[in-house]
């Protein structure tokens, strides 16, 4: 009964989305305020129904209702409760439902939280968002219905893929989708602005919080996915340039460029063309990503479903929205009036360079991901475009970006002094050089590694250069009061940029990691780096829906016991699949990482040991970036959009004229 209600709620949500797709548009054309004001309540109701449908599906999973095809294929009664809940989005149908739920969440958020936004802009934004929601709800109901039933329910389900039975599943998809789908909101804003014919600084001020929210979540989502792959796949890799990973990186690159572009638009009313284009691009890339993952068009470890019908449906949606938005842009391009002028060397100029580099990087990833497909379709030749290609093209684009980052922050608006900016970054450059030499001398790492490490330290220190200059501008005495007065977004900017430097440092440090691969017998000791690892006896252990072989290993340094690692391999009997569970010890910022292969029974265990110095910085940097973004978001100026309500001053009695 609950499941049927959920199904019906989904249909109602589709109906409401259709209503909201049409009525505000009519209201805008006919200039009827009443029609415009229907948009927010309808959006909120749409959210309520979508949430109801999602709750019904979750209920079916939690109670192991095996009359639902979705539950049969992805659940088992022995699965732990947390994976029953998180497994709702561990498959195609459930994750599409999560997609539209988050679409509805953002629509409701804009409907409820955006005070000060003009009614027609808000109505148009919700209208475009409802177009997207309607398209995807139709897609779900017609091709990927999670509420499909079978007549003869089986006794037990097929269990969730063991690789997905992990806390990472609870965190990574929701964060990622909040990011991906968050960019639908910026897309809606851009389309609404084009429809209304008004693209100006006020619009940029309204759109920035939503861009920030989407960006923060996408950053955290990608980082969490990367960390999950790192500890679960058993060999310490965290980025594979897999098509699906690229599909999440591309919106991030476009979104970062959009964030910076909107900032320029807000301050100087320039770069309108870039900003609108990037807003359309970011969401288009999200849609392309959805298409790649779910159509079976590209091989990937991530791929959900390989159903051509679904692929064609998503392709149709993609063509409609991307083509439609570009057509809308072409039609309304005339209303984009030229904004503030600026010299090439200025903060705006630096942000144009930033946009250029990020767009080039994004284009590289896009072309690299789709090229094998395109080439095979046109010439029949099959090639691979893998990590070596991206390392050769993407990394060189990032270097000028990191070099320019602190410099751009130091330049003034409208007309900047390049030499002065560089002079003020003297400390940062010194720090970078010192780090480079220190790492080169101490670690004996490859040139690439310690050069990147130096660049990272330069970016990290340089991120705070502007902040410290503003705090100490009035001398040491005034520093504290100045620091209190500075807007939070200044701190947020510095911290977010510093976070990027931290991530780069972690990436650079992977060049001086060490590894050992060997077959060990219990009691045997091996050295790796400054550590000694001794394998203990292998034990067996049973979990709720698996059996595991655990190989405890004692880690010592100079004879002192530091940690006991517990790498394991688990076997899940329902799916007849096994997966590795890495043993990780975090020592400072580095990690000691161990994984084992299934013990063959000969007494020896195949062991892989890695010493990865500073590796946690990669993900800590992402957390810092997210924190910086959140700090910026909490800035009062952003939240209230326009000036705070002016206190009305009662005039003294006015003499009659």
């Amino acid at each position: 009964m609950i499941v049927e209600t959920g199904h019906f709620a989904l249909v109602l949500a589709l109906a409401l989305a259709c209503v909201n797709a049409v009525v505000p548009l009519i209201g805008h054309v006919a200039r009827d305020g009443r029609l415009l004001r229907t948009a927010p309540p309808v959006a909120v109701m749409g959210f309520v129904f979508t949430a109801g449908a999602f709750a019904a599906l979750t209920y079916a999973h939690v109670t192991s209702d095996f009359s639902l095809v979705n539950v049969i294929e992805n659940s088992a009664s022995t699965k732990p409760l947390v994976y029953k809940i998180t497994g709702v989005w561990g498959n195609h149908e459930g994750s599409m439902l999560l997609w539209v739920l988050i679409l509805a969440v953002f629509a409701a958020a804009v409907a409820l939280a955006s005070r000060g936004m003009p009614a027609d802009l808000k109505a148009l934004v919700l209208c475009v968002q409802s177009w997207i929601a309607a398209a995807f709800l139709l897609f779900i109901l017609l091709t990927s219905d999670p509420f499909a039933r079978v007549l003869a329910p089986p006794i037990e389900g097929q269990d969730l893929n063991p690789l997905l039975q992990d806390p990472g599943l609870a965190i990574h998809p929701p964060l990622l989708y909040l990011g991906y789908v968050g960019f639908s909101m910026t897309f809606s804003f851009a389309a609404a602005a084009l429809i209304a014919g008004r693209v100006d600084a006020a619009w940029a001020r309204f759109v920035r919080p939503w861009t920030l929210i989407a960006w923060i979540f996408l950053t955290l989502g990608i980082a969490m996915g990367s960390y999950w792959a790192y500890y679960t796949l058993g060999w310490g890799g965290f980025w594979f340039w897999d098509p699906v990973e690229n599909a999440s990186l591309m919106p991030w690159l476009a979104g970062t460029a959009l964030l910076h572009s909107a900032l320029v638009m807000e301050k100087r009313e320039a770069l309108k063309v870039w900003t609108i284009f990037l807003a359309i691009l970011a969401f288009s890339l999200s849609l392309i990503g959805t298409f790649l993952v779910r159509s079976g068009v590209l091989t990937s470890v991530h791929a959900f479903a390989t159903d051509p019908l679904r692929g064609k449906a998503i392709l149709a949606i993609l063509v409609f929205f991307i083509g439609g938005s570009l057509a809308l842009y072409g039609w309304r391009a005339g209303t984009l009036r030229q904004g503030g002028l600026f010299a090439p060397v200025s903060r705006e100029g630096a942000l144009v360079l930033n946009n250029l580099l990020l767009t080039a990087a994004c284009a590289t990833v896009l072309v690299g991901t789709l090229y094998p497909l395109a080439l095979e379709a046109t010439t029949g030749q099959k090639i691979s475009v893998g990590a070596p290609f991206f390392n050769a093209t993407f990394v060189p684009l990032c270097v000028p970006l990191f070099l320019a980052m602190p410099v751009g922050q130091m330049l003034a608006w409208k007309r900047g002094d390049l030499l002065g900016a560089c002079q003020r970054l003297f400390v940062a450059m010194l720090a970078g050089m010192a780090a480079l030499l220190a790492f080169a001398a101490a670690k004996g790492a490859p040139v690439m590694s310690y050069c990147m490490a130096g660049l990272a330290v330069y970016a990290l220190v340089g991120a705070f250069a502007d902040l410290t200059r503003r705090i100490f501008a009035g001398g040491l005495g005034q520093a504290v009061s100045r620091a209190g007065v500075l807007p939070r977004s200044a701190y947020g900017t510095a911290i977010a940029h510093a976070g990027l430097g931290v991530t780069l440092l972690g990436l650079a440090a992977s060049g001086w990691g060490q590894e050992r691969i060997l077959a060990m017998t219990p009691g045997q000791t091996t050295t790796i780096g400054p550590f000694e690892a001794q394998l203990q006896t292998v034990t067996q252990h049973a979990g709720p829906n698996y059996t595991a072989s655990v190989a405890p290993t004692e880690l010592r340094r100079d004879g002192r016991l530091i940690a006991v690692l517990e790498p394991a391999t688990r076997f899940y009997p329902i799916r007849k699949m096994s997966r590795a569970e890495a043993g990780i010890a975090t020592l400072g910022f580095g990690q000691f990482y161990e994984s084992i292969a299934t013990p063959s029974g000969t007494g020896k265990v195949d062991v892989k040991l890695f010493w990865k110095p500073l590796v946690t910085l990669i993900w800590i940097g992402a957390l810092i970036m997210g924190f910086g973004g959140a700090l910026s978001l909490s800035d009062r100026r952003l939240r209230f959009g326009i000036a705070a309500r002016v206190r009305r001053v009662r005039p003294a009695a006015v003499p009659a004229e």
Binding site: G236, V273, S384, A387, V395
Partner: protein, 161 residues
């Protein structure tokens, strides 16, 4: 492991660029000569596992990946150079097995994308900035507009203060 051997292994491992290295190499595959082993590892990382979903031969646990890893090591022990090993595999499995796309006429667009986008975008930006002042500068008033302006500024009749 001696310090020199460890150092050489690290130095050759350093051929791996930034993203984390991934390994499915089994202990019994490892060659005794560390220089050859390091070469085998770096070649394996550039080879695609043909039966997997987007993994390299070095990362994959599939039986075919194991076979290719062993094959690479055999060729290296037979004295082939890195290029010869790759050509040997390409002759048998096609271009698809190389993770680094070849630089040839068909892949010119692929390799050229970063440069093309940078140049095109840079040119567009430069053009837009050069054209900028012309657009925003207001055109001179037309005759009818000038007349209207004079009319408005003209003092009117007796009620003017």
């Amino acid at each position: 492991m001696s310090a020199a051997r460890l150092a050489r292994l690290c130095a050759l491992l350093a051929l791996l660029a930034l993203p984390g290295a991934a390994h499915a190499v089994e202990p019994d595959e490892i060659l005794s000569d560390p220089a050859l082993e390091a070469r085998a590892r770096s070649i394996s990382e550039g080879l695609r596992c043909l039966v997997c979903q987007n993994e390299s031969v070095d990362e994959s646990h599939a039986p075919l990946a194991h076979d290719i890893r062993v094959l690479v090591r055999k060729r290296l022990e037979a004295g082939d150079t890195n290029a010869q090993v790759r050509d040997y595999l390409v002759a048998r499995y096609g271009q698809f097995i190389l993770l680094r796309p070849p630089l040839e006429l068909q892949t010119l667009l692929l390799w050229g994308t970063p440069l093309v986008v940078l140049l095109a975008g840079g040119a567009a930006a430069a053009l837009a900035m050069r054209r900028g002042p012309g657009k925003s500068a207001d055109a001179a008033l037309s005759d009818s507009e000038r007349r209207k302006l004079e009319e408005i500024l003209q003092p009117r009749g007796p009620t003017a203060a």
